[in-house]
Symmetry: C2
Subunit: 231 residues, 2 copies
């Protein structure tokens, strides 16, 4: 094989991996898998696809080596292959924010530029948690909370927040978080709470980003885990 053919094969192989990342549905799936491992149906429902279509996209990720499956009972759980995949997803998302202006514009429009003020950093949150000044809520679906969440966080899923609202303390600031910067559940929660007399703000980071920073979390143990390899 001459040098040219060799280079061509090399870049083609590399493109196989990047091609797996070049589809909107698969990116949304990655953002879900960043939360934990899920069966096909859960992915399909939360990423708004048919089950067959989700299955096919998940297989693309798996064939590219980015995802992995573990069977538990009658479900097959898909998960990111290792930390390096999560890090790449975070890097690509960051690149999107910095190089594609429409992304930040979309987000700003949706958020009506108002709860920008109610954004709280991880450091601030840590400090306030120590002083018990805040009540932290995880507004992701309960399944995701159960797989892993910030230590001290309480599960108040976005969908049930209106009914469960009364269980919240009224003498403390509420801080909400969800999946990450592309997720709107925490923004909606903050808006709802503020409209109902609470003092609420949004954590700037989502759960996977908080965890990536080695901040205190609590993970579900012993179910559909694989032996840990290295990134």
């Amino acid at each position: 094989m001459n040098t040219r053919d060799f280079k061509t094969s090399l870049y083609k192989q590399l493109a196989k991996v990047t091609k797996a990342l070049s589809n909107a549905h698969r990116l949304e799936i990655l953002d879900l898998l960043a939360q934990g491992s899920f069966p096909v149906e859960y992915i399909a429902e939360h990423a708004n696809m048919s089950v067959a279509n989700a299955s096919q996209h998940l297989q693309v990720l798996k064939k590219a080596g980015l995802a992995d499956t573990v069977r538990d009972g009658k479900y097959i759980y898909y998960q990111l292959f290792d930390k390096s995949v999560l890090e790449t997803w975070r890097a690509l998302r960051q690149l999107g924010f910095s190089r594609n202006h429409e992304i930040s514009e979309l987000l700003e429009d949706y958020r009506n530029r108002k709860d920008q003020l109610n954004l709280i950093s991880s450091d601030e949150l840590l400090l306030k948690l120590q002083k018990s000044e805040v009540y932290l809520i995880d507004v992701r679906p309960e399944e995701e909370y159960n797989l892993g969440h910030i230590t001290e966080a309480n599960s108040f899923p976005h969908k049930q927040l209106r009914e469960k609202m009364q269980e919240l303390p009224t003498n403390r600031e509420i801080v909400a978080y969800c999946r990450g910067p592309l997720c709107l559940m925490a923004d909606d929660a903050v808006e709802l709470l503020n409209q109902n007399g609470f003092v609420a703000s949004r954590l700037e980071k989502g759960f996977p980003d908080w965890a990536a920073g080695n901040l205190p979390i609590q993970r579900k143990t012993d179910t559909h885990q694989k032996k840990q390899g290295e990134s």
Copy 2:
């Protein structure tokens, strides 16, 4: 716009950026642009494409915000938009190595597993340079050497190495480097030199990776540069 439509647009925008990265030719172009800025024709020649095709791929990168152009005289120089693009390219390349076994196998086959032994790390090189124990050669094309190279490196382009070989010192170890881990010029050089009685080895990193580690380099100043923004 409802939440679902919003999310769909968001991930579609994000996919626009990743789609720009999902083609073998464009990845090879990125690896070239990591060396510096070049006119279309140079890219076309070194990435083995027609000029029209290279132009179109470069425009894809530009529209995605990953590349940038500066005119100088009759040439239009393409370059990476900023450091974050280089970092993303390095991360994707790394992901390719770790998740796609065929890549490392291809490389090992080409290199016949022999010059693995003659691999030298950046730290070792720095040390040996200080003690003047090595003679460092940059085997990339002269144009790339001129745009920027490791301090103390001498230009011995791969293509002219056979003729220029006699100018090399015979009393010191020779260390060769090129564009990076996907580049074979340094491997070829090391093989050629060892066959001709020199003691030669390959620097593990290429120029862009060396530079990314803030190790000592020398860059061409004042030509087709843009005002520096931030990543």
